[in-house]
Symmetry: C2
Subunit: 337 residues, 2 copies
Amino acid sequence: MREQFITLEHGSGGAKTMEFIQRWILSKLGNPYLEPLDDSAELFLGQDLRIAFTLDCYVVSPIFFPGGDIGSLAVYGTVNDLAMQGAEPLYLSLGLILEEGLPLAELEKILESVKGAAHHAGVLVVTGDTKVVKKGEADKVYITTSGVGLIPPKLNFGISNARPGDLVVVNGTIGDHGMAILASREELGIESQIKSDTAPLSLLLRELGDLKFHIRALKDPTRGGLATTLNEMATSSCVGIEIWEREIPFHQEVLGLSELLGLDPLYLANEGKLVAIVERSKADEIVEVMRRHPLGKDSKIIGEVLEAPKEKVLLKTKIGGKRIIPILKGIQLPRIC
Amino acid sequence: MREQFITLEHGSGGAKTMEFIQRWILSKLGNPYLEPLDDSAELFLGQDLRIAFTLDCYVVSPIFFPGGDIGSLAVYGTVNDLAMQGAEPLYLSLGLILEEGLPLAELEKILESVKGAAHHAGVLVVTGDTKVVKKGEADKVYITTSGVGLIPPKLNFGISNARPGDLVVVNGTIGDHGMAILASREELGIESQIKSDTAPLSLLLRELGDLKFHIRALKDPTRGGLATTLNEMATSSCVGIEIWEREIPFHQEVLGLSELLGLDPLYLANEGKLVAIVERSKADEIVEVMRRHPLGKDSKIIGEVLEAPKEKVLLKTKIGGKRIIPILKGIQLPRIC
């Protein structure tokens, strides 16, 4: 039977979200700017000027969590989507949907956090909108941020240029944001030290200087986690990707809690991590430079790009077996970001 | 006592919204791009390139109403905010916050409407995001749209350039959107023929060609209505504005229902109307050209800009009296757009 209603799974960031976007969004609104489904659209505005343009909705719950809140998350998330397109993030817009009865003290804390995050990332909030809905018509506050940035000449990131032989780099521990949100949900009663990794990745990329030109594909593994992002890259680039379990950096506590909760940490959301597929000959140098920056101190080469199996992601386990890691099916956690 | 909670009035678009923006947004995030509080921010991106950048949240209820729906409203609203800055609207981004359980048939209708509106306005949806929240954590669907457009050289609209002697032009009947939404709320049990005026004003402005350079100030009177918009213009330009009740175009039914409901139609929202403050010597020509376009067929000169009283709006009534029309106090209607 044809499905009739929106479900939480439509917002999972995994297989169901992709299907939703294909069937409901691209089929109606498709155009060459939208179709790459990159984190930002790349727009040409006269002369040689390329700008990146992006938008994200944030409905994270709880709105305050270890390591951040919905305000800093909204700023960094949008900054990161611009950065993943190779752009220098410049300007943000801020849309607030507020629930009647929201304590102004909480809103103030969020706006202070927006201010601090924008300052840290070097962007300006230049426009916005505020709407208020009745009590019970939203959950405290939803933020939508949009951003524009300038893409330097000749830089082309996206996710469709990975080639066999390239290496896969991440800038640190995987799954921290997802586990921090999960652990902060009161109903689970979990005590943990895990903090969200939310951070502006543009700062780390800036550190790379001209080494950036040796990145072939780039994306931040947010909803759907590392596994889903690698699948998107493999599909988009028509290659296989193998990652090595032994090399993937995790906080011990994220692994422990994942086991306890029956979750696969490869599917947990990240908000301050990037996956860079880089030219093999430059990979060590890139990792070395990234490690000098606080946001990249745990950078690692975690895998490589293969000819085959095309459009698949393989995990080489610690004991040497290999298994296919599919895109996220179902939903791990609603309102993760 | 200092207020402690967000109320519906914070989202009215009137005095309380202005106070909220001053106290909570500008005080924390203020910068020269944000501070004019124009409908769009004007950004300089290398060479002589000026782009307009805007964002709007739409929480209108009901999501389908006579004359439009939340989809077309979101597209046209953002197109209009760009157009009011003098920009040619080019690219939109689309953020969907969906409530679990939303019928896909309703979402399809909305997306079809987005598609049609984008096509009509000549813009492309190039990026976006979709989030789903649990049943009861939103009311069906909230849309946030952001947009960018190119501002032609030497064109400067905004709301701060009105000068004494200028004339005030509107492109048609006032209050239609607000009354259409009000009448479509089931709980009121009103029967009416009024339709929302939601439309892309960029098409009308394009018709003006070089006459655009004789517009001194421009804004679309959405939340807070004509009265609030004129007050913003008077304050921002440090002038007085007098409007003539006899000249303001209204649908008879909007006037009748306003009287019945005890509302002032000058405060009802519009979504396909503009207020242009134009050079006196060009006003007749501007109105004449506007009347040739379907979106301007009822264009009228409705008032003039005065030296004094500064920062005030006066209404000259049909019987010849004058009274001050303040900015919207309180709230006429939540979730009007």
